[in-house]
Amino acid sequence: MADTNFIPATGASAGAVNTFDAYGAGAVERMSKAEKVLDVQDLSVTLFTEDGELPALQGVSFAMRKGETLAVVGESGCGKSMTALALMGQLPTPPARIVGGHINFGSTDLAALSRDQMREHRGSSIGMIFQEPMTSLNPVMKAGRQIREGILVHNPQMSKADADARALEMIKLVGIPAPQKVFNSYPHELSGGMRQRVMIAMALACEPKILICDEPTTALDVTIQAQILQLIDRMREELGTAVLLITHDMGVVSEMADWVLVMYTGHVIEYATAYNIFHHPLHPYTQGLIASIPDVNAVTEDDLYAIPGNVPMLSDLPSGCPFHPRCPFARQECAERKPTMAPVPGDEYHQVACWKTIENWGE
């Protein structure tokens, strides 16, 4: 990737991609054969605000596979959380509404279900943990009861004692020392890391096929971050859960992801295996994100690279390619025509929305 002048001379990402040396070309083969548990097609969400209709998501497509982690990356405000909430049927209504596309889960199109119909899928088909462990648990309910509650709602015939036992089992499973004590604790009596473990126990208690983690470690200390990520990874492996990991930390992506979905202004602009995203990033935005990874060897401020400019407002999206005002390769036509996702020649599992690749401009 050092073949573009877009990446600064410090060679930012060198330290982050080592993980992928274990993956050969055969990895894609293996990964693409795993069972698809979720197939999102052309999902569009519009915000109906007093100032007009804002396109929060436009034609988002991706798949999730059993036991694999899909990382969703992009700067703040790119629609990562909106995508997650759309999958959960928990969009903020008003103003947000799904206006097109499908969320295929088995034979069901979740996008066509009402918020109330989605209820039976929430927690049982798809579990979700949120960014803020400090505020995501009910402060006046004991941790154990909060876990039990989710179990009982999906297993109405289960006795409270059995549900308690199951909740305790989950608390043990997520590696909490002194499980009984935590079971009987209120959230304010637990540390941030413990609360996030409780959240994970809660989200996985009904063994959903999909776990959505929206920036699960952003609010935590660095050492705790690593533990929580390891835990999510262990759960994925032990339970075969498909994980949707939302993050803006490319370092986390390199540690965790099998697949990466890069989002910008509510669009998917690149979708590939993590290996390809780090070794052959094609979209200039993806290249910029990778160049922005802090280098362990960096000593001065100058060594930190940042993509110039800001994410545009939804109310003021650029014409054509939404990235063109910030793109070092932009040409006149980029502002006139909007590129759509297309597979890279010779690799159907690598898609990108950029004229430079689609029309093979070369350097």
Partner: protein
């Protein structure tokens, strides 16, 4: 939690002692000799002296206070100067009326106030919310006597659905309960709505929904439960208000409650009765605040913790 309870209970006792002292000494320096009022202007100085002696009014004021206090602790509030009956008995009779009026008014205010507040918050911004909150604003701004008269004119005089005044049957209580409860209902509904709106946007509500809970389980079990603190605060102070504020409504509906008893006793300078009445009102307030404090701790485990350590 036990330490917390004991400490709050001791505080309540201390407050009651202060109030009793203030009440007693203030009432004993107000002008107007009760014995003279009792016996009339023509009574001789001798007769006055005898009566004063019999009532213990010739003793030093501190001794009088001490006697009054210890008697009161034994449940003896003394006898009314003018109605030949023990204060405790008079208070008890009126209390039966007031407690029923205020109690039902309070229940009415609490149940309808919380319900309407929650429904308005859940419908935030739409027509239902606006209608309910207009009713609440009306309820807060309408004085109780006006509501009372309006209810009497419409439901008693015009429609003849309910009795105009008195305390004979349960039906007699309907209009006074509404008249007394209206403004409390209105302010509880507004506080509930505000508290619920704040809670509804919290992260843990999203978590609760993400578990697959029913909408109303999320709203009530997670939302209302967390909105309770401000609701209890306002509802608690109102419980004191509603008991003492029932005087006006009792008068309009000719109900012989503690309110009218107090008004009469003050007009007559019936000291034992005034003192008993004030102590009764103080006791209600102190007990209410005690209950509110304990409820806080029950509802919010964080308060229990900090309260227990303080």
């Amino acid at each position: 939690m036990r330490d917390f309870l004991i400490r709050r209970a001791l505080q309540a006792v201390a407050v009651m002692l202060c109030i009793s002292a203030i009440t007693f000494f203030v009432l004993n320096v107000v002008p107007g000799d009760p014995v003279r009022i009792m016996l009339g202007d023509l009574a001789s100085e001798e007769a006055l002296e005898t009566v004063r002696h019999r009532m213990g009014l010739d003793q030093p004021v501190f001794v009088q206070y001490f006697n009054w206090l210890t008697n009161m602790l034994r449940g003896d509030f003394g006898d009314s100067y003018f109605q030949r009956a023990p204060v405790i008995q008079l208070l008890g009779r009126s209390l039966a009326v007031t407690a029923r009026l205020a109690g039902f008014a309070y229940l009415f205010a609490l149940i309808s106030g919380v319900t309407i507040g929650v429904v308005a918050a859940v419908n935030h911004g739409n027509a239902i919310d606006r209608i309910l909150m207009s009713i609440a604003v009306l309820g807060i701004s309408a004085p109780a006597f006006w509501v009372a008269l309006l209810l009497q004119i419409v439901f008693a005089l015009n429609l003849h659905w309910l009795p105009l005044s008195g305390t004979k049957t349960a039906a007699h209580f309907v209009l006074p309960v509404i008249a007394l409860g209206t403004r409390y209902f209105a302010s509880i509904s507004r506080v509930t709505r505000t508290a619920m709106l704040e809670v509804l946007s919290q992260d843990f509500m999203r978590t609760a929904e993400a578990k697959g809970l029913r909408k109303w389980a999320v709203i009530l079990r997670h939302g209302l439960r967390n909105a309770l603190i401000p609701i209890i605060t306002i509802a608690g102070t109102q419980l004191g208000d509603i008991f003492t504020g029932s005087i006006l409504v009792e008068t309009i509906f000719s109900m012989n409650g503690v309110g009218s008893l107090m008004v009469n006793s003050i007009n007559q300078r019936d000291l034992p009765l005034i003192e008993g009445g004030v102590m009764y009102i103080a006791l209600i307030c102190v007990v209410v605040y005690l209950i509110v404090d304990v409820l806080y701790a029950v509802v919010d485990p964080r308060i229990r913790l900090s309260g227990g350590e303080a």
